[in-house]
């Protein structure tokens, strides 16, 4: 198993840092899956984290100037590591104006992702800062947890309004209730609702548009365009998702499986982030 990567470009470094910061906001611990072409940050839905799952995919070539990977074996040329993304984010933060950043898998006191940054200095010799981030190497027999989640057979798919707008709405609703109902239909309308014994609040969004998914999504084809699909979710999970957004997605959308799950997708040229929040009754 070998992994080594290097970033020389400040823009790429900032971009990568923003992605990691986003992940940090979403979860305390996650799985980093390294393949020849991609880096994945994965959180698989466990009861302990409220059933939330996450799938973030980066094209390595858009971030790294050098990238070498030798997986656990030839037929499984990849590496899975469990990482605390906050460590990674802290390490990247101190490397913000670095001339170059190297990330490599090392064996120190325990397996580590070692991040070494070459920083500008007052002299001809660069300052070198290295961070050893402890990781757990995940054995191959547990890899089956980290497959890309299949697209749920959703009832409604809709583009999201600007995430900042959504965030300010959700932030205020959180003061009133622990649960929020997301509902949307196929004519571009989405509502965010809370209902408590004392108050009901609904924010209406319209003309959002519905992404064309083609014929594959049969369930939504035959659906009444005005009919709302809805899911009641833990408001904190949605808030976390909105809070962490540092990537500026070119497209953001939400798929709703009525009464079961919401599936949020952020797409950017070289990054995609999917986030699943299960519905609660």
């Amino acid at each position: 198993m070998k992994f080594r990567a290097k970033i020389n470009d400040v823009g790429c470094l900032n971009h990568f840092t923003r992605v990691v910061n986003t992940i940090t906001k979403l979860t305390k611990t996650c799985v980093v899956r390294l393949t020849v072409d991609n880096i994945f940050f994965i959180l698989s839905g466990k009861v302990a984290n409220g059933g939330v799952s996450m799938w973030c995919e980066l094209l390595q070539v858009n971030f790294f100037d050098e990238y070498q990977l030798e997986g656990v074996s030839e037929d499984a040329n990849e590496i899975c590591l469990e990482v605390n993304p906050e460590n990674l984010s802290r390490a990247l933060k101190t490397a913000q104006n670095a001339k170059s950043v190297k990330i490599k898998l090392t064996k120190k006191h325990c397996p580590c992702l070692t991040l070494a940054a070459e920083l500008p200095s007052l002299s001809s010799i660069s300052r070198i800062v290295t961070h050893d981030i402890p990781v757990d190497v995940i054995p191959r027999r547990l890899w089956h947890d980290f497959k890309e989640p299949s697209m749920p057979d959703f009832d409604v798919s809709i583009y999201l309004p600007p995430l900042k707008t959504m965030k300010s709405v959700v932030d205020r609703m959180k003061n009133l209730s622990n649960y929020l109902v997301v509902e949307a239909n196929l004519s571009g309308e989405m509502n965010l609702k809370i209902e408590t014994d004392l108050v009901s609040v609904t924010t209406h969004f319209k003309d959002l548009g519905n992404p064309p998914w083609g014929a594959s999504q049969s369930q939504s084809q035959s659906r009444d365009v005005e009919a709302m699909a809805h899911a009641r979710v833990d408001i904190r999970k949605l808030q976390q998702f909105l809070m962490g957004q540092q990537v500026n997605p070119t497209k953001s959308m939400c798929n709703i499986v009525d009464k079961r799950i919401i599936h949020l997708i952020l797409l950017q040229e070289d990054v995609s982030l999917q986030y699943f929040i299960p519905a609660v009754v």
């Binding site: 198993m1 070998k2 490599k104 006191h109 200095s121 002299s123 660069s126 300052r127 402890p134």
Partner: protein
């Protein structure tokens, strides 16, 4: 005592107070002919800080006639006077500090723009002399650098980190975070920063060594040094003897004296290749010899040499602590043997042989005062 600071010096004074507030709860104030001294010590007596503002620092400076006046007061109350640095900078033209001995009040008057006067009357207590014993001029190792370098260095370590280890060789300095034995070191992120000697204004290494001390006080001094734009010097010797951080200018001097982990504890923590001048044998940093293969460490092979932190072995921390206490007993000769300093890992090494500056008033005090005893709430035998 009556002294007046003007203009930018008010801000310097305020920053000094803020720095001291990071050390201890009380401000010890002593006007002498050499200037006004401001001191603080932490509760476990492992850190001591002293600012001396010379008479030239002030527009007007009068030491009290009886030469033996000193007092202490809660530093929070003094901080309140200088709370907002920005408003100090904007509106305060001069600051007058005077002693009203009749009323036992220290009066601080801020003369602001538009003739506004802000007067603070602070109560104080008489106190003993507070002086750490240190001899920075005989330290074999001296590093001096602009405050920016220190600030940039410290920035790489998380704010929650308490202690940092500094290793020096003939041409490099390494800083790494120090993790306690009992902490789960396998889960902690280890950070190491390497600086070349060229970045320092002055770099004199007599003994290659590694010392470990608290970061908090260094950060405190940096708050001051950065505003004042003054270089910070670090004087140190072997592990266990204090490190002195010094800022000097023509009209003021600041010394922060910090305990370092004793050698035994230290070696246990950094047992392999770190303690005694092994830096010469350290391989150059991997950026220097950019051999790709050296990065690609097979997970299975564990015999990797590198400049990075190696795991501290599990040691019994009680052993270490008990040793420190016995050391204290040796050093703190004047201390009543039943009065133990708190059981902390940095021992109070400095206050052992302090005698009052003026011999006359206070042999009495020195026996009964608390300064030589710990500030801890520990049970003390009733007297």
């Amino acid at each position: 005592m009556d002294c007046v600071a003007t203009g930018g010096n008010v801000k310097v004074l305020a920053k000094a107070i803020h720095s001291l507030s990071r050390i201890g709860e009380e401000l010890y104030l002593e006007p002498t002919e050499d200037g006004l001294t401001l001191r603080a010590v932490n509760s476990s007596r492992s850190a001591f800080a002293c600012f001396l503002m010379s008479p030239l620092f002030f527009q007007r400076y009068q030491a009290p006639p009886d030469h033996a006046f000193r007092c202490k007061m809660p530093i929070k109350s003094v901080q309140t006077v200088f709370r907002s640095l920005s408003s100090l900078e904007r509106s305060v033209e001069k600051c007058r500090i005077e002693m009203n001995t009749e009323k036992c009040r220290l009066r601080i008057t801020l003369h602001c723009k538009h003739g506004l006067l802000k007067t603070h009357n602070l109560s104080f207590q008489d106190c003993e002399n507070l002086q750490a014993v240190f001899d920075k001029d005989n330290c074999p190792n001296v590093l001096r650098a602009q405050p920016r370098l220190w600030v940039d260095t410290v920035l790489h370590f998380p704010p929650s980190l308490e202690e940092v280890s500094v290793s020096v060789s003939s041409d490099r300095v390494w800083l790494r975070n120090h993790v306690e034995d009992d902490a789960d070191s396998s889960k902690a992120m280890m950070t190491e920063l390497c600086l070349s000697s060229e970045e320092f204004d002055h770099f004199a290494i007599g003994t290659q060594t590694t010392i470990t001390f608290c970061l908090k006080e260094l950060r405190g001094l940096l708050v001051f040094a950065e505003t004042a734009g003054l270089p910070v010097s670090m004087y140190f010797d072997e592990p266990g003897s204090p490190v002195v951080l010094n800022v000097t200018d023509s009209v003021l001097e600041a010394n922060f004296v910090l305990a370092t982990l004793s050698e035994e504890a230290h070696q246990r923590n950094h047992n392999n290749n770190k303690a005694d001048g092994p830096q010469t044998e350290l391989p150059p940093d991997d950026f220097m010899c950019d051999d790709i293969d050296s990065y690609l460490i097979a997970m299975e092979t564990s015999d990797l040499a590198g400049p990075s932190y190696e795991p501290p072995p599990q040691t019994s921390s009680t052993n270490r602590k008990s040793r420190l206490i016995s050391e204290e007993e040796d050093e703190e000769v004047e201390e009543d043997s039943e009065e133990r300093p708190p059981n902390k890992k940095f021992c109070s090494l400095f206050f052992g042989s302090v005698l009052p500056a003026s011999p006359q008033p206070s042999n009495q005090t020195i026996q009964s005062q608390e300064v030589l005893a710990s500030d801890s709430e520990d049970e003390r035998p009733s007297e």
